[in-house]
């Protein structure tokens, strides 16, 4: 941790921001009796956020950083005195932070789902969900009736998609953020789930999974958005699958021993930890889905992977944040939504781990010692050997979430870390290739941070090769928005 730099940054930001009054229509700050971090779990305004320029609060924006950071996350936690019963069940708010010529403009809209429309009209939570039983009056004729569209975003050929995991992607206008509706890839696949972690090859081809109990569908979609292939594989048991990974030639479906044979709401109540199965991995040939093999590792729970690559001898290597037992999904952040926090349990820590799958025999786990979540890799190197994984790190000891950003170099074995300290809650950072660069060290890391001291949301840029030097620049909004999940750069 670099105290000098952190102190300097706090000062710089303090000077750079005029006034502390929240602008009209923004999420209200937490009442004084609730902790500062509860700002991350406050409702966003009903109509989202109109386009507003963020202020450059620190540093110098890179001249070659032009594009937009799109992010998604739950942003409706409360109706009256009724709280959401699970963080995963809040309605998706899709953000666009357009960065151009050193300026950053933020805008956000809720995804207009049936759940959103009906709950807003009733001023109450009604839909069943991952952690929510739901109201008998709420009709459910298919997965998209309960789709929260709150987990990630995917840009395909200029069209934005808000992603959930148990239902369709929702198409959106990337400029206005208006919702178009559920995406049907082919008539016979209407309503099929589309995971929130599609894998995009460096040439733009997209792969994704549809998870339905022990049956898993595989989508192959062209860079232009045409479904090229769809197939089904059987993974043997109804494991929780939030993410997966992919090398240049193989799909790797991780079957963790967190099993739910009864997918009735609230879904989370049906999960059983069955460590006797270990962490199994189904390796599927991208060219022939029937060409499969299994690999086995010790029992672990996970949410997110980085990316995989294949050595010349066929050994597969990939990274993931692994837990010794199920976390978060179980409690679901219900306490945090109410502004309560029981403290950090070390058993909840996820460790960035390299999983090595030899051509024969069991997989091995190589733990880095880095604790955190939201691992990300350079989009130019998805499926390929690379240096780096970036992740949110530095779990706070005094509040939920993490306060730092870490980069692991798989070739040197070293990690590079910057910690903001407890005044900031750090969210996912994405790799944005520098112009003309060829290595994944030639990249910016762009992500969002909730500044608890200022009570405002920020967008930060780091140099992926020098994270411990601290941010290159920070833009600060005149308001805060709730903590979210995942994003994409386009």
């Amino acid at each position: 941790m670099d105290f000098t730099r952190r102190h300097f940054m706090e000062t710089g930001i303090g000077l750079g921001v005029a006034g502390s009054v929240l602008s009209a229509g923004t999420a209200a700050a937490s009442p004084a009796k609730t902790p500062a971090w509860h700002l991350g779990y406050q409702n966003a305004p009903i109509n989202g956020f109109e386009a507003a320029e963020m202020q450059l609060a620190y540093g110098q924006p890179p001249a070659d950083l032009n594009g937009a950071l799109f992010r998604n996350g739950p942003a409706q936690f409360q109706y009256g005195d009724q709280y959401a019963s699970h963080w995963f069940d809040g309605d998706g708010l899709v953000h666009r932070i357009a960065i151009d010529d050193g300026k950053a403009v933020h805008k956000a809209r809720f995804v207009e789902t049936k759940k959103r429309r009906e709950e807003l009209a009733a001023n109450a939570f009604l839909a069943p969900g991952f952690g929510t039983l739901g109201d008998e009056r709420f009709s459910v004729e298919g997965p998209d009736d309960v789709n929260a569209a709150n987990t990630s975003v995917l840009m395909i050929n200029g069209e934005l998609h808000a992603l959930w995991e148990a239902g369709s992607a929702f198409a959106m206008n990337a400029d206005t953020l208006e919702t178009k509706g559920p995406k049907t890839w082919r008539d016979d696949l209407k309503g099929m789930p589309f995971l929130a972690h599609p894998k995009v090859e460096p040439d733009g081809r997209i792969w994704n999974l549809a998870v339905g109990g022990s049956r898993v569908g595989i989508y192959r979609i062209s860079a232009s958005g045409t479904l090229e292939d769809f197939g089904l594989v059987d993974i043997g048991r109804a494991a929780y699958i939030h993410d997966w990974t992919m090398s240049a030639r193989h799909l790797i479906i991780l079957v963790q021993p967190w099993i739910n044979e009864n997918l009735r709401p609230p879904v989370v109540a049906g999960f059983e930890w069955q460590p006797q199965h270990g962490l199994q991995m189904l390796i599927v040939d991208k060219d022939d889905f029937t060409n499969q093999r299994w690999a086995q590792a010790p029992a672990r729970m996970f949410f997110h992977t980085g990316s995989a690559w294949e050595e010349a001898d066929g050994t597969l290597k990939f990274d993931a944040v692994l837990y010794k037992r199920p976390v978060l999904g179980v409690g679901g952040g219900a306490d945090e939504i109410r502004g309560e926090w029981a403290g950090r349990q070390s058993a909840e820590d996820g460790v960035l781990t390299q999983i090595v799958i030899p051509t024969r025999g069991d997989a091995s786990l190589i733990e880095t010692g880095l604790i955190g979540e939201f691992p990300q890799v350079d989009p130019r190197f998805r499926g390929k050997a690379r240096h780096l994984t970036a992740m949110v790190s530095g779990p706070s000891q005094i509040q939920p979430g993490s306060t730092g950003l870490a980069v692991q170099d798989w070739r040197s074995g070293r990690s590079d870390v910057f910690d903001f300290g407890d005044q900031r809650m750090v969210e996912e950072f994405l790799f944005v290739p520098k112009r003309g660069g060829s290595s994944d060290k030639d990249a910016w890391l762009v992500g969002t941070v909730l500044n608890l001291k200022a009570g405002k949301s920020e967008v930060c840029v780091f140099d992926a090769a020098r994270v411990s030097d601290g941010p290159v620049c920070i833009w600060q909004a005149d308001y805060s928005w709730p903590l979210g999940f995942h994003g994409t750069w386009a």
Binding site: F138, S139, E141, G142, D188, L189, K190, G191, P193, R264
Partner: protein
């Protein structure tokens, strides 16, 4: 418009209902059909058949515009409900995706919606009176 009566219904009606003035006509109109093709496969049920038996009467209605209608004649006045689906590709089946979710439009009388299954009888039932009833269903 397609008018459908079944022999069985006529016989039953003749045996049970006297005088004939109590035999009720029901006209069901289905509107808001998205694709002007295929067939609306419609079943009429009473309380005894709604949950898990076959329909008491049915109609296959060719779709050429955005609505179709059918009249069931000589019904005994009382409570009925309709289940229907739009067989868009005319393969005679309600198509589903690989995980078993319907991919063709479906609807229930009263525009009732289901919750992890078909709409319940109490939500879909409506009264057919002796002097005739018109019921309109709007596709989602």
């Amino acid at each position: 418009m397609t008018r459908t009566t079944s022999l069985a219904a006529l016989i039953t009606t003749a045996l049970i209902t006297a005088p004939m003035a109590l035999a009720a006509d029901l006209t069901v109109t289905v509107q808001g059909i998205e694709k002007p093709q295929g067939t609306i496969m419609l079943g009429l049920f009473d309380a005894a058949t709604y949950e898990d038996a076959g329909s008491i009467q049915g109609a296959n209605l060719k779709v050429e515009g955005d609505q179709v209608s059918v009249t069931f004649e000589g019904l005994e006045p009382g409570e009925y409900a309709v289940k229907l689906y739009h067989d868009v590709n005319d393969d005679g089946e309600m198509d589903t995706n690989p995980f078993g979710m319907p991919t063709e439009p479906f609807a229930f009388s009263n525009d009732a919606r289901g919750r992890f299954g078909p709409a319940k009888w109490d939500a879909a039932k409506f009264e057919v009176s002796a002097d005739g009833t018109t019921h309109t269903i709007t596709m989602n």
